[in-house]
Amino acid sequence: MNAPVESGAGTRSDPRAGAIGASAGLNPREGEETLTLLQKSRRGRRAFVAPATDVPEVPIEELLPASAIRKEPAELPEASEPEIMRHFKTLSTKNFDLDTGFYPLGSCTMKHNPKLHERVAALAGHARLHPMQEPRYAQGALEVMWNLQVALAEISGLPHVSLQPSAGSHGELTGLLVTRAYHDARGEKRHKVLTPDTAHGTNPATVTMAGYEVVKIGTAEDGGVDLDALRAAANEDVACLMLTNPNTLGLFDRNIEEITKIVHDVGGTLYYDGANLNAVMGISRPGDMGFDIVHFNLHKTFTQPHGGGGPGAGPIAVSDRIEPFLPVPQVVRRDASQNGRELEFDLEYDRPQSIGKMRGFQGNFGVFVRSYAYICSLGAEGLKEVSETAVLNANYLKARLAEVDDLLPIAYDRTCMHEFVLSGRGAREQLGIKTLDIAKRLLDWGVHPPTVYFPLLVEEALMIEPTETEPKERLDYFADAVKAILEEAASDPEIARNAPYTTPVRRLDEAAAAKRPVVRQPRER
């Protein structure tokens, strides 16, 4: 095969050699200990210099009761600035990241994080603004939020937006709580929420937190919701159906209009999990499909950097009938001529039917700034192109991987949307390697593996979402790497079973970590 496009997080070397770039025994750093900054600390070292105390000093005992004064200091690190910098910089080199290489994680939408966004988010007017600043002195921030709301409403086809939820899960919970409030206001007590068996784990977890019972709906042979099962389960005890479309199999449910009708006919609400929105922007809108509530993952479709696990944001858009229940405060735009008010944008707290607050203040504003900048950059045409390209890239990669469909058969063989799911069962049966082994060997190829073992419906699942920001040659590189791994396993499956070899650490004992959890550096002194 051709030389790799780039080498990623490690270099390929003799698989049995050990650590990066080492022939056995010649790397003097091979046995070096991994230390936390606490372990590297030495008494008296410091990075902080306190500003001078410019007020008269009063003994602490006069200012605080004895019971409140801390007796034993917290064991925090003691290190100078250069040592702190070296410590964290060195840690960073042990991470694979999106700016380094490919991350085809299904339903995560690991697309490029535009570099402009950190610059605009850091503008003092945004970054140094206190959340309780009076709205008249925060008009710029409120306008950012308002404009973002308008854009999300247009993209989703649902007019009323709350930016408050801090992540997708938070948005899901908000969506079910407004659903509950909606039914309560109508004097109805409903107990069940329907979710397909392909649902992301956050959906059923949210259902329980919202005080509902999960009812699982099966998947039909074409990969969509089983309509008969849905009809059987849909009754007046159903508060809501939670769905994503395209679903976690990457398939657009052709029966979506029928599905939303079935649920609406029994008076339930429809919740759209926006994790897969990257497939349909400017092409199809959840509001038009019949959904009442949509959440957006700003850290997926809208490029907020993942940061190793957040921050994100999970705003929701809702239909007219759900609007009264949205959290407070809501960002509103006032006609300047109304009541002689000067304020154009304001925070509205007077919402008698609101569910209340899901969190402090207004939400993850810094994330809004970045997402808003993204939408400004791309515009209507650009956003549609995002989805078109995401779907094109996924279908192309699927076509390339069909070259090994005896080993990695596609779970559902039809045009996919922005992602698709393969089953590793062929590789397991014929080569004796599992999806896990393929994933670990991919690390040696300098790419991040796809999502593995989800959705649960597919045996040895590999869920692949390339996103629109990858060039064709990278998709080819990935397909060629997968093929090479399978070929290699055909002659020696042990290589994949013991991979990776070139990463900063190799396979870790997760069982030991779970049996005897050590979740902090123990105190030595």
Binding site: Y453, E510, A511, A514, K515
Partner: protein, 130 residues
């Protein structure tokens, strides 16, 4: 880990649990097939002595790193003993699922229920190994 086996002399439940019946008491556990599916066990929280368990319903959970599974009672009765040693070494269930990896002992409430269970040959067929 251990090698695949389904000893004669034990009775088996379709949900991959075994019972060793001795008069009006029984020792219960999960089969080799079950532990193989789960991977290395990391956690088992035994139910309290005195708890009543019901045939065909879950009486406990076992956890591996990446999965949680209900443990289904093959027979009904009252728990007289639980394998506390598994608190420190849950992997015994993988290493010796029919011996040191036993989960609970019960006093049977209905000895007739044993007739509904499978023998080793039938269980092997059930899981496609025979």
């Amino acid at each position: 880990m251990s090698s695949e086996e389904y000893p004669d002399g034990l009775l088996y439940h379709a949900e991959h649990d075994w019972a060793r019946v001795d008069g009006d008491t029984a020792t219960l556990g999960i089969t080799w097939f079950a532990q193989d599916q789960l991977g290395e066990l990391v956690f088992f929280d035994p139910p309290a002595v005195g708890t009543q368990i019901q045939k065909d319903t879950a009486y406990a959970e076992v956890e591996s790193v990446k999965a949680v599974s209900d443990v289904i009672a093959p027979l009904s009765g009252e728990i007289t003993e639980a394998n506390e040693a598994l608190g420190d070494t849950p992997e015994k269930v993988n290493e010796d699922p029919y011996g040191e990896g036993w989960l609970v002992k019960i006093r049977l409430s209905d000895q007739g229920e044993a007739d509904q269970l499978m023998d080793a040959a039938a269980y092997r067929q059930h899981i496609g190994r025979g």
